[in-house]
C-alpha cells in the first residue's frame, strides 16, 4: 500500500469519529432539540424532495459568483499596478488598509440602505470581503517577483503593457492564485451572514428561517453541513488551479 492512500484514510476516520461522537451524545443526553446525524440526512432529503435544496444552493452560489468575479476583475489589475508602481502603492495602500479591517458584516446596514434587500446587497458584501485579500495578495506577489525575470525581460526588450501582462502577471500568478483561494473562502463565509439578514433564499436564509419557523434544528444543521461541503468543494476546485503547468513551477521547487 502506498503512503498516499494510507494517509487518505485518516480524514475519513476523523469525520467518522466526529459523527459517531455527535450521534452518541445526542442519544445519551436525550435532547429534544438537537438532531441526530440521521435526522440531518433526512432533512437534506426532505429539502431535495421539495425542491428548495437546489433553490437555496443555487441562490447562494449565484451571489458568490457575481460578487467574487467582480472583486477578481478589479482586485487583480489594481494589485498588479500597486505591486509594480511604487507610486500607485503609496497612494492607494493606506486607503485599502483603512477599509480592510472593517468587517463586511459592519457594512450590512449600509448595503441595505444603498442596494435594498435584493441580490445586490449580498453581492456587494461578498465583493468587499474577497476584494481585500486578493488586492493585497496580488500586490505582494508582484512586489516579490524574482528580479532576474524582470531583468531578462528588460534585456530582451519587453516593456510596457506586454511586460505587465506577459511577464509580471505570470511571474506573480502563483501568489495571485493563493489570494484568489483566500478570497473565495472568505466570500463563501460571508454569503451566509449576508443572507441571514435580508433575503428569502440562500443557505443563510435556510438556517435562520428553519430556526424561526418551528425550531427545525435538523434543517439548521442540514444548512450548516451543506455550507461546509460546498465550501470544501470550492476550495478543491481552487486548489486544482495550482496544478496548472503555468504555475506549478512555484510549488515544485
Amino acid at each position: 500500500m502506498s503512503r498516499d492512500s494510507r494517509s487518505d484514510f485518516w480524514p475519513f476516520l476523523l469525520v467518522g469519529l466526529l459523527i459517531a461522537g455527535w450521534w452518541v451524545s445526542v442519544v445519551v443526553s436525550k435532547t429534544p432539540y438537537f438532531p441526530t446525524p440521521w435526522a440531518v440526512v433526512l432533512g437534506i432529503v426532505e429539502l431535495a424532495r421539495n425542491g428548495t435544496l437546489v433553490q437555496h444552493v443555487s441562490a447562494s452560489l449565484m451571489r458568490v459568483t457575481y460578487g467574487y468575479l467582480a472583486a477578481v476583475a478589479i482586485a487583480i489589475p489594481l494589485g498588479v499596478l500597486m505591486g509594480w508602481f511604487g507610486r500607485v502603492y503609496r497612494a492607494v495602500n493606506p486607503l485599502i488598509q483603512l477599509l480592510r479591517p472593517i468587517s463586511p458584516i459592519a457594512w450590512i446596514p449600509l448595503a441595505i440602505l444603498w442596494f435594498g434587500v435584493g441580490n445586490l446587497s449580498p453581492m456587494f458584501l461578498i465583493f468587499l470581503s474577497s476584494f481585500f485579500p486578493m488586492v493585497t495578495g496580488t500586490a505582494a506577489g508582484v512586489h516579490t517577483i524574482e528580479k532576474q525575470y524582470i531583468r531578462a525581460a528588460e534585456n530582451f526588450g519587453i516593456r510596457g503593457v506586454r511586460l505587465l501582462r506577459q511577464v509580471v502577471l505570470p511571474a506573480a500568478l502563483p501568489q495571485v492564485i493563493v489570494g484568489m483561494r483566500l478570497g473565495l473562502g472568505i466570500a463563501w463565509l460571508v454569503v451566509v451572514a449576508a443572507e441571514m439578514v435580508a433575503i428569502n433564499s440562500g443557505l443563510g436564509y435556510l438556517i435562520i428561517d428553519s430556526r424561526n419557523a418551528g425550531n427545525r434544528y435538523d434543517l439548521v444543521v442540514a444548512g450548516m453541513v451543506l455550507i461546509g461541503v460546498i465550501g470544501f468543494l470550492l476550495d478543491i476546485a481552487m486548489r486544482s488551479l495550482e496544478g496548472l503547468d503555468e504555475v506549478r513551477w512555484r510549488y515544485v521547487r
Binding site: 531578462a152 528588460e154 534585456n155 530582451f156 519587453i158 506586454r162 511577464v167 505570470p170 511571474a171 521547487r253
Partner: protein, 250 residues
C-alpha cells in the same frame, strides 16, 4: 552577429550609510569583435557591477561604454546577459521561452529558430518541457539558446555555471566553446574560477579588490580544445592566482 566593446574611464560608487562606497575606480577595457574575455577577481570586488554597466542595466557615474562605436544606453537585445540564477521564464515551455523573445519575427520563423537553437544546445525533444522539469544544466542550455536566438552582438555571462555541480560545469564549458565555434559571438564572462577562465577565454582580465581596477591582463594563446593540465596552463594559473593574492607551490 558580433561586436567590439570599448569601455573608457568607468567609475561607479553606491551610497551607503557610511557615505559613498566606491566600487569601480577607473576601468578601461577593449574587447575585440569575436573575442572571449574572462573577468576574474576576488568576490565582492565589483565584477558583477561592471558587467551590469557594460550590459546597460546600471549607469556608470563617469565613463562610457560603446559597442561597435555606439554608446550603450540601456539594456537591449543587442547584448544579452546570462545571470547566475536561472532567468528563463518558468511559466513557459522551453520552446515558448525562445519564441516569446522573438517579438516581430513571423510565426513560422519563430518556430524554426526555436527548434534550431534547442537543437544547437542539445535540447532536442524537450521543446514542450517546462524549466522546472529540466535539470540545472539543461536550464542553462535553454538560457543560452534563448540568448543566441536573438542574435546579440555580445554575450555577457555572470558566473553562469556557478550554481551547477562540478561535473555539469565542466560539460557546460565544453558545450559553450562548441556553440561559440558555430555562432561566433563576442563574449565576456565573469567568474571566480581561474580554471574556467583558462579553459574558455582568449584573454583573462584580473581585477583588484574593491574599489576595483584592472590589475593585469593575461593572454591565453592556446587553441581549443584546451588541455588544462599542460605545463603552460599550470604556469598561467599560478600567475593569475598569485595576482589574486593566492600563493601556490612552484
Amino acid at each position: 552577429m558580433s561586436g567590439s566593446i570599448v569601455a573608457t574611464g568607468i567609475h561607479k560608487s553606491f551610497s551607503s550609510r557610511q557615505g559613498a562606497l566606491s566600487v569601480i575606480e577607473g576601468i578601461d577595457l577593449s574587447v575585440a569583435d569575436g573575442e572571449f574575455v574572462a573577468l576574474v577577481g576576488p568576490s565582492g570586488c565589483g565584477k558583477s557591477t561592471l558587467l551590469d554597466i557594460l550590459a546597460g542595466f546600471v549607469r556608470p557615474d563617469r565613463g562610457e561604454v560603446q559597442i561597435d562605436g555606439e554608446p550603450v544606453g540601456s539594456a537591449n537585445p543587442r547584448h544579452i546577459l546570462i545571470p547566475q540564477q536561472p532567468s528563463v521564464f518558468p511559466w513557459l515551455t522551453a520552446r515558448r521561452n525562445i519564441t516569446f523573445v522573438l517579438d516581430g519575427v513571423p510565426d513560422g520563423e519563430q518556430r524554426r529558430l526555436a527548434f534550431h537553437y534547442l537543437d544547437l544546445v542539445g535540447l532536442e525533444g524537450f521543446d514542450q518541457s517546462y524549466p522546472h522539469q529540466l535539470s540545472g544544466g539543461m536550464v542553462k542550455r535553454l538560457e543560452l539558446a534563448r540568448a543566441l536566438a536573438v542574435k546579440p552582438d555580445v554575450l555577457y555571462m555572470d558566473e553562469p555555471f556557478g550554481a551547477l555541480d562540478a561535473l555539469t560545469r565542466r560539460k557546460m564549458r565544453d558545450e559553450l566553446r562548441r556553440i561559440l565555434l558555430v555562432e561566433r559571438h563576442t563574449a565576456l564572462l565573469v567568474t571566480h574560477d581561474v580554471e574556467e577562465a583558462l579553459h574558455l577565454a582568449d584573454r583573462i582580465v584580473v581585477m583588484s579588490p574593491r574599489p576595483t581596477k584592472i590589475q593585469c591582463i593575461v593572454d591565453v594563446p592556446f587553441p581549443h580544445p584546451r588541455r588544462l593540465v599542460s605545463v603552460e596552463m599550470i604556469r598561467l594559473a599560478a600567475l593569475i592566482l598569485s595576482e589574486l593574492g593566492v600563493e601556490t607551490e612552484s
